[in-house]
Symmetry: C2
Subunit: 440 residues, 2 copies
Amino acid sequence: MTRPLKVALLGCGTVGTAVLRLLDEQAADLTARIGRPVEVAGVAVRRPDRHPDVPAHLLTTDAHGLVTRPDVDLVVEVIGGIEPVRSLMLAAFEAGKSVVSANKALLADDGGELHAAAAKAGVDLYYEAAVAGAIPLLRPLRESLAGDQLRRVVGIVNGTTNYILSRMAETGHGFTEALAEATELGYAEADPTADVDGFDAAAKAAILASLAFHTSVTASDVYREGISAVTSTDVARAAEIDCTVKLLAICERVGRVGDGAAGDGDGDGDSVAVRVHPAMIPTAHPLAAVGGAFNAVFVEAEAAGQLMFYGQGAGGEPTASAVLGDLVAVARNRVAGTAGPGVTTYAGLPARPIAETPTRYHVSLDVADKPGVLATVAQEFARHGVSIATVRQDGHGDAATLVIVTHSAPDAALSATVAALREMPAVRGVTSILRVEGLS
Amino acid sequence: MTRPLKVALLGCGTVGTAVLRLLDEQAADLTARIGRPVEVAGVAVRRPDRHPDVPAHLLTTDAHGLVTRPDVDLVVEVIGGIEPVRSLMLAAFEAGKSVVSANKALLADDGGELHAAAAKAGVDLYYEAAVAGAIPLLRPLRESLAGDQLRRVVGIVNGTTNYILSRMAETGHGFTEALAEATELGYAEADPTADVDGFDAAAKAAILASLAFHTSVTASDVYREGISAVTSTDVARAAEIDCTVKLLAICERVGRVGDGAAGDGDGDGDSVAVRVHPAMIPTAHPLAAVGGAFNAVFVEAEAAGQLMFYGQGAGGEPTASAVLGDLVAVARNRVAGTAGPGVTTYAGLPARPIAETPTRYHVSLDVADKPGVLATVAQEFARHGVSIATVRQDGHGDAATLVIVTHSAPDAALSATVAALREMPAVRGVTSILRVEGLS
């Protein structure tokens, strides 16, 4: 047994604390699995006085000094955010250290530059914990499915919004009440913007799409709609058509514009469409049953077919499990004197704008209940090239409700249709619009 | 770009044919992902005349000559069975070739020896395709969860039996009729023994337990019961208590005898209990919804919590996807001049016999409908130290049905209880006995 591998821990919040505890409790197992003991070299925090449980000699405010210390082998980053983490990571790579991170925002924005820096230094950059917490997902995409062609990755990757939408369905409450409950129970942060507006899910979608399609996707390539506009009417309408409302992160490889189908085989002219928005999905869909704070990701590959990964998407312990799994991997590589496979972005696929991305809509309208209204409405869809899959008309008094589910059409055509419907004299109101996913 | 990596393919049935096709179709992608092109060096088959679609110059009957050819870098084995594959693999390792295999029977029996030989030669042995087809499962266990402590792995890992049990539930048919249907549709082989008697699932359970608990488990350590004794009454009784019957592969790390709880923290005195048998599980359990030929595996880890992996467990294309994922991994390692992490068996946990393994039973009895019968029956359970969780009594005429679900108790105590019940004068017949899993 040679000298221990030394780990620098950056950040010591919920996840960092769990990492420290597990490193201690499982020291014997980790040593056996890695082939050398792992030892904490230091813990970089902003306010050392707030961490009475961490041995004082390990605490430092000098994160840069810690990551570049000659005796440090590996860096675990659980601070989050862009800076100073980006600079710290680059400094770590330059100093020859491998990095394990849980930082979705940074990886989504600067993954390309960071991977290049790690590859240049011959070290590892692993970040399983950045997407869907404890669920082994990035390693399967990077490695297990590396011999396959991925078509779609569709996931529930944000527990806060999933909890809120689950509660709206259970209680009939609106978004505001459900958010207040989530905040009270600690499922939503004081400033819930990153979760409810879909920023968190969009960063994860960018990471998933990059790995799934061997291309470079950043958060700015991701179309993003949060759940704050989802109403109790939307949720009720979903139930009426045997659907449930979920915030989905959808990464698709799509063929040429106008084709609509997935990649056409040779891949020439393919693009990636990556989007985060609420959608109705059939209650029979495996993702529909994913409740509360759980995460699940559905993958469609050409040869493997349909796969699903399910588990806890957040929390100190589950996230720490993912961090430690990566830590064992980079430590084994260090012991073997090598680095794991990097990511490849050779496909260089362009991002397709949402306007050109094929989607399906559910539209509920209040209309005057008189002959010819359905024909007029149907004509408006046809005029925009949107084909209707199903329509249901419920009369009540002199009014009627039309519930329409479309076939797949470019998103721009669907939103133009809805805009035109709003202007029609026969339409008294558009009461619910949501995209629909997972219908066959 | 240096010279191509050369692959020897052993076997060319459904999976081998799919591997060849995907290697050809995805050549450009594989080259980009690996960093070097991959080329088929030869295909070893028994009867070359039966493979008109494979270029004749690649076909050979000399498998040993092929795997030891100096220009061969990697070996893909999809023959199956123990010999000659075992000898061929050992020859490949000795000649410095990495091996990708889909061979559950061989890995379950001789995994220890084969891993040791691969490690000695400094080459890789990967076999994701051996368990649950396309579902990324072994790599997550070996790597993603390497920083965690696994408690249980419970899976539906045999599609044939799952199809048969699903059909029994849907149609009310007995085992024999459902098997006949499965055979006719090609879901069961002409000789279905390996599937219906649980041998296939037991081999997979041995592999899963070995990786999950870092110990050595072989197929002979696995308690095994097939589904041929499952009756339509069992299936109907399951439905009555909101359960469904599944053939489960269950791998548990358990504490000291008499403890019954999972590992007690320090792991001293822990053992592994690995078993394959039909069981009732609640319809609300995630595994209950896994129908037809699909596979799913549920994992419980100390920090990660509950995880589930779902997908296609068999078939040429899905299995080939798993094989190619491994092929990319070993090829990347070869390009990097290294080998991936081997498996560790340092835990050296003993296998706990089924008699001592805590389980729960469902028991349905036909009894005489007179006062005191329930008390007498309950006394028999108590006499064997078995605690009853729920009991339901349905009278009809002078007879009654007792449906009893027990709490957890050593399996031997439960089977002794059932044997004693059969001898009781008040018990006219034991109409259904099945273990129950997944109740809280």
